[in-house]
């Protein structure tokens, strides 16, 4: 269980302190698929970074399974089982997909197990395993490799920051399939996805709406989704593509 208690976060904005997260308290039980949505600038990505330890709150406490993790570093939180997938996956000159998966797994990973993670995200392992994680990979490929690193870690809490950002529609359809698989797989894993996409909201157990640094709505998909469809931030994919089916 992840608990946020009175979390506030401010950032320097031309000399004045701008509050981005305003006194948020949340409890996220285990084995749930949670989607956090809301308008741009509402604090969603900041909240994800606060959970991963990339940002530190100005005040408030974070607890993972009852243990206070507020002062724990990124590395310590990672080793406690928190995974974080970047909105813009990072590129590395020289590090290969296999290197990254091995680092993620934290052990000597056999090529065949690395291939397993890649095939789960719809990439043909033999084409990718030796590729460098550099600018030669497309946005969609990088996103899938990013997700594969989370799968390789087998985390208990995975946070995905706008996985659909910057990818094409064709890759998006595959991405949805990956999340659907993660959703149905019995892995005892809590997944938090920051997203605007209706297709992702649609597979949530619970939806949290964040606006202006505060939680404005929280509840099951059936309770929340009808109220936010058409609100401007819950977007559907291209209707033509939807009609065309998979």
């Amino acid at each position: 269980m992840l608990e946020l208690k009175n979390i506030t976060f401010g950032a320097d904005n031309n000399g004045s302190n701008k509050e981005i997260i305003k006194d948020i308290s949340l409890s996220i039980p285990d084995d749930r698929f949670i989607v956090i949505t809301g308008p741009n600038g509402g604090g969603k990505s900041t909240l994800a970074k606060l959970i991963a330890g990339i940002e530190k709150p100005s005040s408030g406490r974070l607890l993972l399974d009852g243990e206070d993790i507020t002062d724990k570093s990124i590395t310590e939180r990672a080793n406690m089982g928190i995974g974080f997938a970047f909105q813009q996956p990072v590129r590395f000159k020289g590090l290969t997909v296999l290197d990254l998966l091995r680092i993620a797994a934290g052990k000597t990973l056999t090529v065949s197990s690395a291939c397993q993670y890649l095939s789960e995200v719809g990439l043909c392992a033999k084409d990718y395993i030796s590729r460098e994680v550099n600018a030669s990979l497309s946005g969609g490929e990088l996103k899938r490799i990013e997700i594969a690193t989370i799968l390789a870690r087998n985390v208990k809490l995975a946070v995905f920051d706008e996985p659909e950002a910057g990818i094409d529609l064709w890759s998006f359809r595959n991405l949805i399939r990956i999340f659907e698989n993660m959703r149905s797989a019995d892995k005892q894993r809590t997944v938090i996805v920051i997203s605007h996409q209706e297709r992702i909201l649609n597979i949530a157990d619970e939806i949290i709406v964040l606006a202006d640094g505060k939680v404005t709505k929280q509840g099951t998909k059936d309770e929340i989704l009808p109220g936010i469809t058409g609100a401007g931030f819950a977007e559907s994919v291209c209707p033509k593509i939807e009609e065309g089916g998979e």
Partner: protein, 308 residues
Amino acid sequence: MQKLDAVQLRLLMETADLHGVPEGAYNIRANGQSVDRNTTANIDIQSKTEGSGIDIRIKDGTVNESVHIPVVLSQSGLKETVYNDFYVGENCDVLIVAGCGIDNCGTQDSEHDGIHRFYIGKNSKIRYVEKHYGSGDGSGKRILDPVTEVYMEEGSTMEMEMVQIKGVDSTHRTTLAELKKDAKLIVRERLMTHGEQSAVSTYKVMLNEDGSSADVVSRSVARDSSYQKLDLCVLGNAACSGHTECDSIIMDNGRILAVPSLEANCIDAQLVHEAAIGKIAGEQLIKLMTLGLTEQEAEEQIINGFLK
């Protein structure tokens, strides 16, 4: 064979990945003397009659053979300049492994300057690996100033892997290449300096005839207070294609001057250069930390990958 001591054997392993006597043709030089040599039916090695060094002659059509010519220095204060000339026949496919390891535990400077000249025959393919390594905690410097000259005949290919990762205090490396019709030169240089080290690497590649091409890529890391100058110049004198790239990471107080340059002397020459210098991106460190590495482990992984 004069027996190599433990230090010399370790240097041999670092520079030539050799755990003992290599297969095929070889010449092992230790502390200024040739200590062991083997020739094959196709590859002959002779000491020069004048001056220091060896002539390596590879017969036409020699394929799938290798030549190892490692040099190890474990005696403080030794300074030497050695001329090694490679005469490669036509239609060969050969691996050449050179390299120098210096262990200096004394107070005097040790220096090895290897002057390597390659004359590569028509349609021959050479893969050349050169590793430089230094060790020892004496105050004497470990200095390597190699010169490599490559003369490539029609249709020949040369792949050069130049590596200096550790322990050489001062190096000034000069590489010159002249390419004839359809000849192809590929260079992959990897360099890491630390402490107060200084490294200068100069390349001058002349693409003299139509269809010739060169791809010279240098990846380097300057740590602590070390300094590097990378001067990569490609001259296009015919309908040719050339690419140079300096890609560097600076850490601590490291300094790097990258001078990629191109000179087109023919309207059909196509030349490209790229250069980038910067510290390790913060987001790269954060990404690896979210995978469970400490900041220091993340840094090492990034550097290892970059120089791989």
